[in-house]
Amino acid sequence: MTAGAMWRGGGILALLAAAAAFPLVFTNPLVTSYGVYAMIFAAAAGAWNIFSGFSGYISLGNAVFFGSGAYAVGIAARDWHMSGLAVFGLLPLAAAVAAVISVPFGLVALRVRRHTFIVVTIAVFFIFQLMAYNFPFTGGSSGLSAPFLNWRAATYNNPFYYIALAAAAGTTALAWLIRRSRFGLQLRAIRDDEDRARGLGVRPMPVKLAAFTVSAIITGLAGGLWFYFITQVQPPSAFDPLFDLSIAVMAFLGGVGTVPGPVLGALLIEPGQLYLTQRFTNGYLSEILLGVLFLLVILLLPRGIIPAGSEKITAWRARRDRRAPAGAAGRDAGAGTAAGPPGATAQAAAAGPAERRQPPPPGGGAGAAGGRAP
């Protein structure tokens, strides 16, 4: 293990320890509730990034999975008369329902690209909201209530916080694994140029659909947890267009396509959003301020904090190394690509490292075919 990897591992452990200690240090239930929402959104934004950030297919329909997860556990807990801690055993059901929905959704939506894809996701989103209003088992416009949890008020938020933290950390770890895998390279090759990726031997549909389903599973899980925490759900709150916008802006603020970016974005935006809603209770002014905040994020930091920051660090290292001419150039180049500016082409990467890391399968995937291509 190199010194850099050890530093990085130590840093991650320290961050996790700080996150775990958060509800023990800040015991005010209002503050810990902000923490719960921030972690739920970190998981949801990370899930959005795994599909949309890596593949370039911007989805504005992830609320379909969020809401379906919430409704799945809500309906199951109601019909099976579950209560107490046992309801958390239903969370895998939320993930499963979201996964089942994502397959036909993906098969239809992923046939089209760019704007058309975005609009199809919006259309599916509205169909689901309508279904939540009109189906006999969803409780119509009054929605569903979560089972009552007989916990002490002072520490009520803590179990939610730790489940959400585990979900957010797991999502980030999964994003990291996917990003450095062959699968991740194929996704990013599709983002850069789908037709060319196909020419290099990537089969776009299964790759895109797999990422879409992974994203759906995590979002469904987050939706189920969110429902237990907020204790009630109505069609417009479960299938909320603002949810879709929020997770996308979170990913953009942190850095689309980077691993830590969406988490960072969620931890910055969600508490801010909650504070605005709390501060201006009539709800309208907070909406205006939220819109202004989103505009500022997109116009002032179009590439996100992580890519902009890592570029600054790379530039600083390059300046330092020019002053002290040692052979550290290779390490810096590595650091630059690891941070992954979103504009960088993954096409070359999809051809290169993947082939070196693992033997090409018969029939030739991206790595194998790409290695032979000029």
Binding site: I58, L60, V108, R111, V112, R113, R114, H115, T116, I118, V119, V120, I122, A123, V124, F126, I127, L130, M131, Y133, N134, D193, E194, D195, P241, L242, L245, A248, V249, F252, V256, G283, Y284, L285, S286, E287, I288, L290, G291, V292, F294, L295, I298, L299, P302, R303, P342, G343
Partner: protein, 293 residues
Amino acid sequence: MAREIYQAIADGILAGGVYALMAAGLTLIFGVLDIINIAQGILVVLGAYLSYALLTRLHIGLFAGLLITVPAMFVLGVAIQWAFIRPLRGSERTSMTLLVTFAVALIAEGTLYEIFGPDYVQLRSAYVTRSVHLPGFYLPDIYLLGFAMAVLLVLALYVLLYRTRFGRSVRATMQDETAARLIGINVNRVAALTFGIGVAVTAAGGMVYGATGGGFNPNSGYDLISRLLAIIILGGLGSIGGALAASVFMLTLESVVDIWSPSWAIAVFYAALIVVLVVRPAGFLGRKGVRAQ
């Protein structure tokens, strides 16, 4: 039953004309700037509220009020394009412009809530309540007037695009922005004016929308934009003729399904979009290039 269906078809065609007007603006903006203006829905609602304010505060009639609201919305559109769309460049432009217009929609929605509150309002006037009785049909005047105005405005848009020098620059920019730049077209100016025109027609569309539907409030923008997006995708992105055909088709379909199940009528709208896209991904009159990445 047959009579109900005929009436529903007539209603659908008339309402389709109004939606065509709003969708034409959206698809024009897409064609020239290659962006989807999510704020189009709330801008339609804003147009309706402007007409409402002129009507109730200053007692200016709905059609006369358009002489004020259309130029105002044009200026607003140019301003939005100049301030928020123009600065965006680079590979993520598609998604960024989407988020920017979404944020603009949020601000507009919040502002309308602040000023007018969440109550549903409707534009009322003499010709809103009058109607024409034909044998077997019942056609409200406002629908006929709105339809006539929509047809006129779409014709005017057509003349502007196909019979003027400015229209030639617009179409050249739609075909190939770089080439248009090379032959001396001021692409930035074309983009700003097109965005302004696309938003200006929403003032007219919003007025008729506010007078014909079952009332509106600031939240109506979401429902509108999702319908408009379905229409322009179905018609083929960037095709004004396609937007017209798709508006009439979708609204007629919705109006007919509404006889049996009012609550599911709107779902048919989106279901139709998905079915058409599975069969024909480029839409009714879509250009092939639009799908390419």
